[in-house]
């Protein structure tokens, strides 16, 4: 189990349960390290005092804030004094219907687990899980973690208390200036659009969607490691204006959706030769062996590409 990011207690009425906070998201991103181009050695980042030109240990770093042109310096202790209770307690202020909370407010999901073995605490945690499981309501509360206050929603997921940090209302911009388009569509058009949406509908199944970017990035790294050339693919589909005849586009789409035809605008068939361009001479030679290309051993890389694409 990953280490907890915060420990404190969740307080509901006078019920107080010591809990630890764990992230419900694991970082699967492909991370790069900064290296020195010349010798490939990792780069270290060091903190320097801009005035003394000397390295500064982490303990000697404070928080600076400019107030009316004057620099105010705060220590961690100063910041801790801003709201001491909130740094230790998630205070539940009320219960709301989960459906009333628009996803725009959701930020990061976490889990809460009880801390310690005390029977009373474990039972109080279980009580919260049992009660919240049987309602569509979620607890609304707030707490402070790492010098930031969070409005949080606590509900049950997978038989655990699940906490989601939320944005405050003034962190969500108004929509009044968004250009939201024209007049109400005609009934015939709206009916056709609704029918198309339904025809293209499926059940939400998150496991159907994989992070292709992560896979492609790892693939690029692997190709580079083998010494292959990396080429940037052309955009598959350029941005387009609206269809000249909306009704015709809806009808045609609906027909294709119902008959199971795809919507590929154009098929590019020359993908094969692009791929050859990416291979090293060694790999090209292997393919040439398989294809029994005559004279392959004396061919250059480019000649191999040419022979293989014929």
């Amino acid at each position: 189990m990953a280490r907890s990011l915060w420990t404190g207690s969740i307080s509901f009425g006078l019920v107080n349960v010591p809990v630890a906070l764990y992230s419900a998201v694991r970082d699967l991103d492909v991370h790069f390290r900064q290296l020195h181009g010349k010798d490939g050695a990792p780069i270290d980042t060091r903190r320097f005092c801009s005035e003394e030109d000397k390295e500064v240990p982490f303990e000697a770093v404070g928080h600076g804030y400019e107030l009316d042109g004057e620099q105010v310096v705060l220590t961690d202790q100063d910041l801790g004094a801003a709201a001491p209770r909130k740094t230790r307690t998630i205070d539940i202020e009320g219960f709301v219907d989960v459906d009333d909370v628009d996803p725009i407010y959701f930020d990061h999901p976490y889990f809460l687990a009880p801390v310690g073995e005390a029977e009373g605490n474990l039972r109080a945690y279980q009580l919260l899980v049992e009660v919240m499981k049987s309602t569509d309501r979620a607890a609304l509360g707030r707490f402070v973690m790492r010098t930031k206050e969070y409005l949080v929603l606590v509900r049950v997921r997978d038989d655990r208390l699940a906490l989601t940090t939320m944005r405050f209302h003034d962190e969500v911009r108004p929509t009044k200036d968004v250009d939201t388009g024209g007049r109400k569509p005609a009934k015939k058009q709206l009916d056709a659009a609704k029918a198309l949406v339904e025809a293209l509908s499926a059940d939400w199944d998150p496991s159907n969607h994989e992070d292709c970017y992560r896979e492609r990035l790892l693939d690029v790294i692997e190709r580079k490691r083998k010494g292959r050339k990396i080429t940037v693919p052309e955009p598959e589909r350029a941005a387009a204006g609206p269809p000249p005849d909306i009704m015709a586009a809806l009808r045609e789409s609906l027909e294709r959706a119902r008959s199971g035809q795809g919507f590929d605008v154009e098929d590019s068939e020359d993908g094969d030769s692009d791929e050859l361009e990416d291979l090293s001479r060694e790999e090209l030679y292997e393919r040439a062996q398989k294809a029994d290309v005559p004279g392959r051993s004396s061919m250059s890389r480019d000649e191999l590409v040419k022979a293989l694409s014929e």
Partner: protein, 260 residues
Amino acid sequence: MPRSIWNGTIAFGLMTVPVKLHTATESKTVHFSEVHLDDGARIEHRRFCSKEDKEVEYKEVVKGYEVSDNTYVVLDKEEIAAAAGGRGKVIEVEHFVDAEDVDPVFYEKTYYMGAGKDGAEPYRLLHDALEATGRAGIGRFTFHDREHLVAVRAVDGVLFLHTLRFADELVAGSDIDVAEPSRGPGKREIEMAQRLIDTLHERFDPERYEDEYRQAVLDVIERKAKGEEIAVTEEPETDDSDDLMAVLEASLGGAKKGAR
């Protein structure tokens, strides 16, 4: 609306809707800069080569991926961009789902979508169709050289674009160890807690919740600027009582008194 951060097309079937994206959220957290406690001077982050122990200029820095201990594959910007995905300026809707079926944990970041050039009519049409069917479009789009899974929803006249987390990024509850009590909560305790929830039930009104900590931090800054000593004031702790029933009863009494 301030300027858009992306212009493109959202496509479903053969329908294309020119759209532009706007930032929908912004952080209002009080931001500090790192300063040296001894003299209040700004802290600079400087890059050093770990081998030569010498400062390195930014233009000498490359990005490497560690394939095994201390072995890095170096990629330049274009090579990293090669993985971005070839979808160009199009948000391709793969299918529509019931908007309510998408659990909140999947939602990551939200953008507002506005109608692009000549897009007014089809924008309205897509919005109204999503609103009438209660569906959200699920698709992919590439932004800042990274492909995202997204959901498009109709919310009070505006199309929202949410980036979504992938299923394998989410930690399952079974990965979080929770010790079981030897005796679970009793029926009366559950009923009592339910009543407490009902008493504390309210309509979600985001404007009721201000970031009080933000103000508290600004107050501390102001006091510090006046040269005041900042001390932590201890607040009374609530009792850790083992009698859950008694605590619930007392809470319910308090909550009812608090309610109008």
